[in-house]
C-alpha cells in the first residue's frame, strides 16, 4: 500500500515537473496568411509613411519588430494559405483555425487540421471572405505537448483602397469597417459610412464658431490630421468638426473601403451684406436628430459635402453625401432625421439637395434663402480651393503632443 502511494506520488511529481518543461519549449515562430496577397497597409501612427508600414503577410511573425500584422482583402476573397512554424517537443500536433466576426462576435468559419507537422502550409479550403464589409478575427491554435494560440485581424473591404488612403490606414479601418459593416455595394456602404460618421460617439461636434480644426490648410492639398483626430476619439474625447472636417473624414473612410469619393464646396448667391446664405433648420453633427429642438437654421458662406470623384457639376443629378447635418424631412417632404446620403432607394441628388423647389423660403433641401443658383460662382474673397470641382485632402499621421 505504502509502495503504491509512493509510486502515485512520484508519478504526480514527474507529471507536474514535465508540464512546465514542455510548455516552456513550446512557442510560435510564425503563423501567416501567405496567400493571397493582402492590400498593403500602414498603421497611421507616424510619418513618414515608409516608417509606418504594416509588415506583410498578415498574421504572427515573432521575428518582426511588431509581431502581429492585420490584413485587408476584398470581399469574397478565397484561396487562403496558412504558413506556420512552431517549436515543440513533439513532432506532430493539431492546428485549429477559427474565424469570427469582430463586430458581431459570431463564428464565421472553423476548421481543424489533425496530425500536422510543426512547420508547413495549410490550404484553408472553404474559407471565403464575406460578401460584405466587416472585420474578421483569426485565431490559430496549436495543440501539441500543450496548447497555444495567436490572433490577428483581417479587414474585409469592397475594393482596393483609393487615394489618398493608399496604402490604407489600420487606425481608420477600425472605424470605417464598423460603420460600413454588412454592406456589399457602393450605395449601401456610402450611406452607412455617412450615417456612421454622423452618429459616432464620441465623435465630431459642430462648433458654433464654424471653424475648421483638423485640416492643415497651409499645405497643398490641405492635409487632414487623421491620427491626431483618431487619438482623441480613442481616448474617449469629443472633437470639434465643421463641414470641412466631417466631409474630409467621411471621404477618407469611403476611400479606405475602396470607394473613390471626393469633397466639394457648394455656395450660391450669398447675401451681399452678410456674405452668407441661410439654411433650413438642420441638426448638426454631435446632436440628437430625433429631437426637434436640435434643429435650427445656420448662416454660412459655403458648405462642403462628399461626392463621387469627378462628379459632374450641378444641375446634373450627381448624388451627394452630407455627414455634417441631419435634415428633418427628405426631398419628398417625408420624415427623415438623418444626414443626407444618396441611395437608389432614397435619392439625394445634389441639385435638389441644395434647394427644392428653387425659390426663396423653400422648405426642402439645405438652403432657405436667398435663392440659390445652380452653378458655383467665384467669390472674390474666398481663398484656396473654392473654384475646384471636386478635391481630396491629403492625410497626416503627425501626432498631437
Amino acid at each position: 500500500m505504502r509502495a503504491k502511494s509512493l509510486i502515485i506520488a512520484l508519478s504526480i511529481v514527474t507529471f507536474l515537473l514535465t508540464i512546465p518543461s514542455l510548455s516552456f519549449a513550446q512557442r510560435w515562430h510564425y503563423a501567416l496568411l501567405t496567400e493571397p496577397s493582402s492590400y498593403q497597409l500602414r498603421w497611421g501612427e507616424r510619418e513618414p509613411p515608409s516608417e509606418d508600414m504594416v509588415s506583410m503577410p498578415p498574421g504572427l511573425d515573432t521575428s518582426r519588430t511588431i509581431p502581429f500584422s492585420p490584413g485587408c482583402y476584398k470581399i469574397g476573397t478565397s484561396g487562403f494559405v496558412l504558413s506556420y512554424k512552431v517549436e515543440d517537443s513533439i513532432l506532430r500536433g493539431v492546428i485549429d483555425v477559427v474565424v469570427w466576426d469582430e463586430v458581431t462576435g459570431e463564428t464565421f468559419w472553423n476548421q481543424t487540421y489533425n496530425r500536422v507537422p510543426k512547420e508547413g502550409k495549410i490550404s484553408l479550403v472553404g474559407l471565403v471572405l464575406p460578401s460584405y464589409i466587416t472585420i474578421l478575427r483569426f485565431q490559430v491554435s496549436w495543440a501539441g505537448s500543450g496548447t497555444m494560440f495567436t490572433r490577428f485581424s483581417v479587414f474585409v473591404v469592397l475594393d482596393a483602397p483609393k487615394a489618398p488612403m493608399e496604402p490604407a490606414w489600420v487606425n481608420l479601418l477600425r472605424y470605417s469597417c464598423r460603420w460600413g459593416r454588412g454592406t456589399s455595394n457602393l450605395e449601401d456602404a456610402a450611406q452607412a459610412i455617412t450615417f456612421g460618421v454622423f452618429f459616432q460617439r464620441p465623435g465630431f461636434a459642430y462648433p458654433s464658431d464654424t471653424n475648421t480644426y483638423w485640416v492643415n490648410t497651409l499645405t497643398n492639398p490641405p492635409s487632414f490630421m487623421l491620427k491626431a483626430l483618431l487619438d482623441e476619439w480613442n481616448a474617449g474625447r469629443w472633437t470639434d468638426g465643421n463641414c470641412v472636417n466631417v466631409s474630409c473624414l467621411t471621404m477618407l473612410a469611403l476611400c479606405r473601403v475602396g470607394l473613390d469619393f471626393s469633397t466639394r464646396q457648394l455656395t450660391g448667391t450669398v447675401d451681399p451684406f452678410t456674405l452668407n446664405f441661410r439654411t433650413n433648420p438642420i441638426c448638426l453633427i454631435g446632436s440628437d436628430p430625433t429631437i426637434d429642438q436640435t434643429y435650427s437654421p445656420w448662416d454660412w458662406t459655403y458648405h462642403q459635402v462628399c461626392v463621387l470623384s469627378n462628379a459632374l457639376l450641378p444641375p446634373s443629378n450627381t448624388g451627394l453625401w452630407d455627414p455634417k447635418a441631419a435634415q428633418k424631412e427628405d426631398l419628398n417632404g417625408n420624415g427623415y432625421r438623418n444626414p443626407p446620403a444618396h441611395h437608389p432607394s432614397h435619392l439625394w441628388p445634389e441639385f435638389d439637395y441644395w434647394q427644392k423647389p428653387r425659390m426663396q423660403g423653400a422648405s426642402l433641401g439645405l438652403v432657405n434663402s436667398p435663392l440659390q443658383e445652380p452653378t458655383y460662382p467665384q467669390h472674390p474673397n474666398v481663398p484656396g480651393f473654392w473654384s475646384l470641382g471636386t478635391w481630396k485632402c491629403s492625410v497626416s499621421a503627425n501626432p498631437w503632443p
Binding site: 460617439r201 464620441p202 461636434a205 459642430y206 462648433p207 458654433s208 464658431d209 464654424t210 471653424n211 475648421t212 480644426y213 485640416v215 492643415n216 490648410t217 497651409l218 499645405t219 497643398n220 474617449g236 474625447r237 469629443w238 470639434d240 465643421n242 463641414c243 470641412v244 456674405l275 452668407n276 448638426l284 454631435g286 446632436s287 440628437d288 429631437i291 436640435t294 448662416d299 454660412w300 458662406t301 459655403y302 458648405h303 467669390h379 474673397n381 474666398v382 481663398p383 484656396g384 503627425n398 501626432p399 498631437w400 503632443p401
Partner: protein, 327 residues
C-alpha cells in the same frame, strides 16, 4: 525666465547666429536643426507657465507649404485637469505656431488658419479681434461663442495672430458636460480661460521674438529718467527696448501685471501694455510700436520711442546715454 533658461537661451542664440544655412529669422542665417531646437526649448511653453495648465512639451515639425517654402511648426497642448467640474475636465489649450520665411506668406498663412464656414470682408474666416479685446501681434482674429447657458457647439474658441513671420493659432477646448449623451452639451468657454488662452498666445509670440532678436546678446544702454538710471537694450536695427515697468515706477507710477497685461496710470490716464502687442494704449489713444511688447525677467520691454510718445515725453541721446524727458 530663470537663470538656467537665460544661460541656455544665450548659448542657443550664439549657436544659431554662428551657423549659416537658412534665412528664417530676422535676416539672421541659421541652421534648421538649431531653429527647431530653439522652438522646442525656448518658444514652447513650460508646465504651469499658463497658470494651472500642464504640458508634455511641444512637438516641432516642418511643413512643405502651398507657397513652395518650408515652415517650422510648433504644436503644443496645455491641459488642465482636476477641477472636478463636469465640462471643464479636461480643458485644453492647443497651440499651433508657424514660423515662415517672410511676412507676406506669414500673413496668408494666418488668414488660412482662420478658415471657417464664413468669410469676412478682409477675406478671413473669423472676425478681427482678440478674446480680451486688447491688441496682439500685427493683426488678430478671434471667435468665441457667447451664451448664457450650456448648449451644443459652445466648447471651443479660436484666436489667430499674425506678427511678422509668425502665424499663430490658439484654441481653447472643453469636453461635453456628459460625454455619453446623444447631444454633446458644452459649457460656454469662460472669460478666465479665454484670458489664459490669450496669455499662451502672447507668451509664444514674445518668446519667438526674443529668439528672433537674439535677446541675450543685445547690447545694453544707459537710460536716464527722472534722475534715475535704467538699463535698456538696443537691437541690431537701432531700436531701444526700454523696461516699461521699472521706468513707470521710476516716474512715480505703479505698474501691475495681470496675466499678459501690464497696466499703470499716467497723468490721470490709464496705460495698458499688452505683451505681444505692437500698440500701447494710453487712455483712448493707441500708440504704435515698432516691436511687440516683450516680457522677460518679470519686465515689460517696450519700444522706447513709442513709449516716450505715448507718455508725451521725448527720448534722446545726451552724452552717450539716453534720456527720457519732457519734449
Amino acid at each position: 525666465m530663470h537663470m538656467v533658461s537665460l544661460v541656455l537661451l544665450s548659448l542657443a542664440t550664439f549657436a544659431f547666429m554662428s551657423t549659416i544655412r537658412i534665412n528664417l529669422l530676422e535676416g539672421q542665417p541659421m541652421d534648421e536643426e538649431q531653429a527647431m531646437k530653439l522652438m522646442k526649448e525656448f518658444v514652447a511653453l513650460e508646465p504651469n507657465e499658463v497658470p494651472g495648465f500642464d504640458t508634455k512639451g511641444g512637438v516641432i515639425s516642418r511643413t512643405a507649404t502651398k507657397w513652395g517654402v518650408m515652415s517650422l511648426d510648433l504644436l503644443q497642448r496645455l491641459r488642465r485637469t482636476g477641477t472636478g467640474i463636469p465640462g471643464l475636465d479636461p480643458t485644453d489649450i492647443v497651440i499651433k505656431a508657424f514660423l515662415l520665411p517672410n511676412r507676406d506668406i506669414a500673413y496668408q498663412a494666418a488668414v488660412l488658419l482662420t478658415t471657417s464656414q464664413r468669410i469676412y470682408p478682409d477675406g478671413a474666416g473669423m472676425p478681427q479681434g482678440s478674446w480680451t479685446g486688447l491688441p496682439i501681434g500685427e493683426k488678430s482674429w478671434a471667435t468665441v461663442a457667447k451664451a448664457e447657458k450650456p448648449g451644443p457647439g459652445l466648447g471651443s474658441s479660436v484666436l489667430v495672430v499674425w506678427d511678422k513671420k509668425i502665424a499663430l493659432r490658439v484654441e481653447v477646448h472643453y469636453q461635453p458636460i456628459d460625454p455619453k449623451a446623444k447631444t454633446a452639451i458644452f459649457l460656454p468657454v469662460q472669460d478666465e480661460d479665454l484670458e489664459l488662452g490669450e496669455l499662451a498666445a502672447r507668451l509664444i509670440l514674445i518668446k519667438a521674438n526674443l529668439v528672433l532678436l537674439g535677446w541675450r546678446d543685445l547690447p545694453k544702454v544707459r537710460l536716464v529718467a527722472n534722475r534715475r538710471t535704467f538699463e535698456a537694450k538696443k537691437t541690431k536695427d537701432g531700436l531701444i527696448l526700454a523696461p516699461a515697468k521699472a521706468l513707470l515706477e521710476g516716474l512715480g507710477e505703479k505698474a501691475e501685471r495681470k496675466l499678459g497685461i501690464f497696466s499703470a496710470s499716467w497723468k490721470g490716464k490709464k496705460i495698458i501694455l499688452p505683451i505681444g502687442s505692437r500698440v500701447m494704449l494710453v487712455g483712448k489713444e493707441r500708440y504704435p510700436l515698432s516691436l511687440p511688447i516683450l516680457f522677460e525677467g518679470g519686465e515689460a520691454w517696450i519700444d522706447g520711442a513709442g513709449l516716450a510718445k505715448g507718455l508725451g515725453l521725448a527720448l534722446r541721446w545726451e552724452k552717450g546715454q539716453l534720456v527720457l524727458a519732457k519734449r
